[in-house]
Symmetry: C2
Subunit: 302 residues, 2 copies
């Protein structure tokens, strides 16, 4: 019986950083049995303790080098600002023939930060499973978080095709759909579909709680009219999101500029009571929603 | 047995406009049996037909005057821009002693628009049940939409206290919590907790689908990272929301100005890589979410 037939893709997988995504991946590996051995590393004693209690990682290590020892696939699941520091520590201990990947919401800057630290004989296939909730920490993950969602891989330079295919199979077996594109394209798409939405959610919640004519209590009490949904998004992990904005700066600033231009247009339409313009936009956006619902139905029926 | 004991608050309730809110109110009246007789009016034949099929309104009328005939409570459930036209038509036919209320998301302008059309002997108690979904139309309502939510009443001028109390009881019996405040205060609170959130959701969806470097298909496909939630809000009823922005212009422009100031600050923080500032905001907004969840728990346990 070959490895492929038995369903094992990687003998040992190391998960570096065990938050929402790291714990979801570990649970998905257990569920699909695509690896026999998961090791994990978390920075704090508290997280390691919690992960040991929860039991979805076979071996929780106190140090990075032990965690990646003999691993065939190493997945970086930390805020993107931490990747370089981690690579500096593990680089020389990575097993020959192993594959490194990550789950960061920013790709070009991650490649820029760590590609010089990838040793000869090790492949780095950058990736981004697009899934999440507002919860974070090792108790928040679940295998189904990743199912029927897209994972974008952004191989660069002279990458190893076999490694790419193995990483692709890994995510597909977990239940994800995989797409492959340039890192820069990924970063633009994510800037507008994820980073700017988060930024404006954080911003409106900040604005709303810093007014002199409306109290914080009133904002909290009467949140049902729309604000509540924004607070959910604006309660996502602060460190992860700080790092996203710092590391996808160019694409975020470009998309933010467009968002602000359009908002200024809307401001003007309201000031001049241009009802037609408002109605046209609000009708158009409704159709986009319908497109997303349709796309999701098609995806899950595949 | 007095009326109060039998649970009837109004012998006949007329619902003008049978969309999401109008149909939810009708169903809630049926569920709680606080009126024996609900009449309804909808502008289009198609809606009237649908409502007749669904059966939650006793008598669906083709014209406004028939719908309000003998009604003790008349509830305007139309986009706020339509109220004056309706009042012009029904004003002289309103029953002496009846109470008129509305559900509009804007209060000062509604009062300004129709208060001169309220005949002597009729009370107008403006109101706003803060509840909704992205769906609209007569098939979208459900009684539970209103339960455990806030309803704000904004009586003005020399209002009749007895009428205010009856309207208050009406909403409370339906399961809502009632608060009473000045129309201007309501409009400021809603501008920041509901109108601006909707405006920026509409805006980001518009921006995202009008880019040359990212296709509409990519935006739809990779929506899971945050954008999807915004499309839900941005698929709310276009006419209703057009009217909200046109009729709460001053408060919306004031709050939008603040939102944009804060967003410009964040833009600067990203440009200058001020991670501390981003992290501070993102940590603060997380606490607001916790406050809302706490408030909801307390409310539903009451």
């Amino acid at each position: 019986m070959t490895k492929k037939e038995s369903g094992i893709i990687f003998d040992k997988v190391a998960i570096i950083g065990i938050g929402l995504i790291g714990s979801s991946i570990a649970k998905a590996i257990k569920k699909t049995q695509i690896s026999n051995n998961i090791s994990g590393y978390a920075k704090t004693h508290k997280t390691r303790q919690k992960v040991r209690e929860l039991g979805y990682i076979d071996c929780v290590e106190n140090d990075l080098v032990s965690a990646i020892k003999d691993a065939d696939l190493i997945i970086l699941c930390v805020p993107v600002g931490s990747n370089r520091e981690i690579l500096q520590e593990i680089s020389s201990s990575l097993k020959k023939g192993s594959i490194l990947t990550d789950v960061g919401s920013v790709k070009a800057e991650v490649i820029h930060q760590i590609s010089d630290l990838i040793p000869h004989g090790v492949s780095f296939i950058p990736g981004h499973p697009i899934a999440g909730t507002e919860f974070s920490g090792p108790e928040s993950g679940f295998a189904e978080l990743l199912e029927d969602k897209w994972c974008i891989l952004t191989p660069y330079g002279d990458f190893d095709k076999n490694s790419l295919n193995k990483v692709k199979s890994f995510w597909e077996r977990i239940g994800m759909l995989v797409d492959i594109m340039e890192a820069e394209q990924h970063d633009l798409i994510l800037a507008i579909t994820s980073h700017i939405p988060h930024l404006i959610a954080y911003n409106i919640v900040g604005t709303a709680t810093d007014l002199e004519k409306v109290t914080k209590k009133q904002v909290t009490q009467y949140a049902a009219g729309g604000f509540r949904d924004f607070t959910r998004i604006a309660s996502s992990d602060p460190i992860m999101w700080r790092d996203v904005f710092l590391n996808n700066k160019e694409a975020v600033l470009e998309m933010l500029g467009r968002f602000m231009e359009d908002l200024t247009d809307l401001q003007k339409a309201i000031r001049w009571k241009d009802g037609k313009k408002l109605e046209e936009l609000f009708t158009k956006t409704r159709k986009i929603r319908q497109g997303i619902i349709k796309e999701e139905k098609e995806r899950s029926s595949k």
